[in-house]
């Protein structure tokens, strides 16, 4: 059919080496415990001569192991997710698994992706999602057959491993930090309502205020949907600036939003952090490059990806049974945009000019 010259088969290798296919198979799979070294040698040479590469597909069919895991990922084009993809691929490779990449944003795409991975007979799946509220039906069904690990998948239960991070505490820590720096009116730009992560951060914001004995003021909360564009974010910032008793600090819904907030402030002649502290969320690669460098609540996406693939490969090898739930902490990365560095420097030089 296909006129392309065929690859060498195990049979040809066997013939050339003057042994049986079994022996070749044994050599190739390191079942060489009780085997004459000379035989092994001959086989290896024969394989080398023919440029033989075993067919993984034939092998998979025979031993029912595809040596492949699926990676389905929403928003594949988001820079942050890359780190996760990167470690997942690496850890998988180290465990001798290949990674089949699948994008899926909508529920429809999700279930199609899962069908597809099932047909490919992947041995397990890592699911990198946005935190949209979404039902896990397809996932639960899949997890009934093969190990599944989700990252950043809202919801709970379902009988599979989940890795998430603690948005609530991440956000409240940021609030407490700003409070400790003297801020009493802390604005919050909240993300899209359809994401559980957004809601949790909002809760974290409120929790943080409560922790500090500050009152929750609706005027200090505006919308800045990080899935929208810069114009939207600018509006959010301006809304916060327009309140009569303007905040002295702004918690942005992510780093990109924070960048636009800083820009908006600076264009209006406000200095960051002197006139207004700004804190982001994500710790994108550009956060330290902004001027001033951005204080931010780090999304542990890399760690989450790593944990996820480790959970998966562990389960593949050892077959745990109880589904595991991992909640990572979000770390506050203090840089210059919140004024803490300056405050510290001031303290050092006994200068009392702390932000009030």
């Amino acid at each position: 059919v296909d006129p392309r010259r065929r690859r060498a088969t195990i049979e040809q290798v066997a013939k050339l080496a003057g042994v049986s296919t079994t022996t070749v198979s044994n050599v190739l799979n390191d079942r060489t415990d009780a085997m004459r070294p000379s035989t092994r040698q001959r086989v290896l040479e024969a394989a080398e001569m023919l440029g033989y590469h075993p067919s993984q597909v034939a092998r998979s069919l025979a031993n029912r192991q595809s040596a492949t895991v699926g990676l389905v990922i929403a928003e594949i084009a988001t820079p942050l997710f890359f780190n996760a993809v990167s470690v997942i691929e690496r850890v998988a490779r180290e465990g001798n698994y290949n990674v089949l990449l699948c994008h899926a944003s909508t529920p429809d795409e999700e279930s199609r992706a899962l069908d597809l991975l099932q047909e490919k007979e992947v041995e397990g799946v890592v699911f990198l999602s946005t935190s949209d509220y979404r039902d896990d039906e397809a996932l639960v069904r899949l997890a009934d057959g093969i190990p599944v690990v989700t990252v950043n998948r809202s919801g709970s239960g379902g009988g599979f491993d989940r890795v998430t991070w603690d948005n609530v505490h991440g956000m409240s820590a940021a609030v407490r930090h700003l409070h400790a720096l003297g801020h009493r009116r802390i604005g919050f730009l909240r993300g899209p309502a359809e994401r559980q992560g957004s809601d949790e951060r909002w809760q974290g914001y409120q929790l943080g205020l409560a922790d500090c004995g500050l009152e929750y003021t609706p005027e200090l909360v505006a919308m800045a949907d990080y899935t929208a564009g810069p114009e939207d974010w600018r509006h959010g910032a301006e809304a916060l600036l327009a309140v009569p008793l303007r905040p002295t600090a702004i918690l942005a819904s992510d780093d990109s939003v924070a960048a636009v907030v800083m820009k908006t402030l600076q264009e209006r002649g406000l200095r960051v952090p002197d006139d207004m502290a700004v804190v982001g969320v994500d710790d994108q690669p550009f956060a330290p490059l902004l001027n001033p460098s951005l204080t931010t609540v780090k999304l542990p996406i890399l760690e989450a990806g790593q944990k996820a693939i480790e959970l998966l490969t562990d389960r593949l090898r050892e077959g745990r049974t109880a589904p595991e739930r991992v909640v990572l902490t979000m770390e506050l990365i203090v840089r210059d945009s919140c004024g803490a560095m300056r405050a510290a420097a001031a303290l050092d030089s006994a200068d009392p000019a702390l932000p009030v």
Copy 2:
């Protein structure tokens, strides 16, 4: 062996539907031209009942088509490459191909990745590289068997399709733009020497100067290795500031470097673009978010990825023979950091305050 309950097979479906496996196979593959609709219907129902999913691995073995392409990518964690990965996955999926992801930075990893993909019997490979000078030996060997397309792979020949972009003209266009804005002393931060892309940009810089009748001044060129860290970039910027007749514009080796350059300038009280114009390369997502928003030479990585996967799937379907070479143009994205916007506004209001 594996105690897991087995998936339904085509045979079970056939039995349940009261037909032969051939018929089931025909239904599933839409070879339904001359077939009693009732038969088709029965088969479909039987499959549905059993929750049948055909095994791609068995199918692959039988028809010698894995329906999979390999994507090997260097610097998987670089935000820019995301866009490429994203379109590649999408286009592949639309063409009913799956994507097997493989990281490979070193030549060693490269050849290991190629072996692996060969064993997986991928039908083609897209190769997303850095522009390091590197020999194509392994690639040429692979391309002898299956279609290969490289993106950003320096070198030429090899009998496979290559997609690149024109660094020289991208850079010279930036120089000409700055010249048109009145700049006569244009500094250049060059990237790592081991990358062909860096060299080409340097050539482009020189070409641009020549185009404008400007003389090449070694003092106006400093190093800022974009694979290094912010400290390195800051040094680069400072080197340029230290020259007696300081430049009025700086071409940075990429957007991250440009961000640090702007930051360095601003920290020294220099205004961008008034006191110094800055231009980057890449057009990273954060470029428009910087203050001022960054004028930059856009890397057409998304377009390159798209072109690459299209070339690949075309070749897979139709089997062209002559290797194709695609060179994309780099577009200058004019924003605020070069002063052009301001100049335009000034012109509009008949204000003669153009940068000199």
